[in-house]
Amino acid sequence: MEAYLFYIMAAVAVVSAVYLIFEKNPVYSILYLVMILISIAVLYLLLGAQFIAAVQIIVYAGAIMVLFLFVVMLLNLSAKEELKDALSFQKIPAIVMGIVLLSAIGIILRSKIPLGKQGEYTSAYVHDVGNTQLIGKLLFTKYLLPFEITSILLFIAAIGAIILAKRK
């Protein structure tokens, strides 16, 4: 059951990615990107990472995609005027690199996948306690300082956005 779901969602992600690249209208490309993000969120659920799946949908598919959409609208790309292929010299290197990547994947798949030493939080332990509970517990005890610094980091991002957009 889980294996079938994995194959279905992986196929949806790959097909959406192909459509994303070949779509002429950039707004439709973004909609395909949303499809990819949601199918990857399902893959995270299959791995037992519920919090990451929720973040993927709330932050990426929800907020970041709105940002991407506004960037497309700011750039004023209409469907009529096609994007000029200014980087046609990239074609041959791209094909070569694609073959290199595929053969690298092939070598990895044929050899035994190296597994590192198992850490403190095994998947069985995470499954028992609950993914989100464990993240919450660690975030507010062991990783408290990075967590609080995150708020300052986002504050800086807000200051940057205000200064750039409100410049006279």
């Binding site: 506004f70 609208m73 004023n76 993240i135 986002l154 200051i159």
Partner: protein, 117 residues
């Protein structure tokens, strides 16, 4: 995976509702298009110019601020789930976290980030 079955059923119902309605309206409805019917809005003034125009950077600012506060809200989920074991300590931590965002909010407000001018 059984616990996600309600979400799957909800998804199927939502997609099914939309698809059924579109198919039914195509099958049952009569199509007699007039220029008036084909305009995006049937009432109000006629649309002028193309919709494919450059958007103001103000939209981008609003989207950026939305992302920032969205990330803040996402961090409240693990806190809420682990609240029982974190007790008062966790509550004070989240107060500091939300407090910094409150300062951030007031900063944006005072700098006119929420004004449309």
């Amino acid at each position: 995976m059984v616990q996600y079955l309600p979400i799957l059923i909800l998804l199927i119902l939502a997609f099914g509702f939309a698809i059924t309605n579109i198919v039914l309206s195509v099958l049952l409805g009569t199509q007699k298009p007039t220029p008036e019917k084909l305009t995006p809005y049937e009432c109000g003034i006629d649309p002028v110019g193309s919709a494919h125009e450059r958007f103001s950077v103000k939209f981008y600012l609003i989207a950026m601020l939305f992302v920032i506060f969205d990330i803040e809200v996402v961090f409240l989920y693990p806190w809420a789930v682990a609240f029982q074991s974190l007790k008062l300590f966790g509550f004070i931590e989240i107060l500091i976290f939300v407090g910094i965002f409150l300062i951030c909010y007031f900063y944006i407000w005072k700098r006119g980030g929420l004004e449309w001018e």
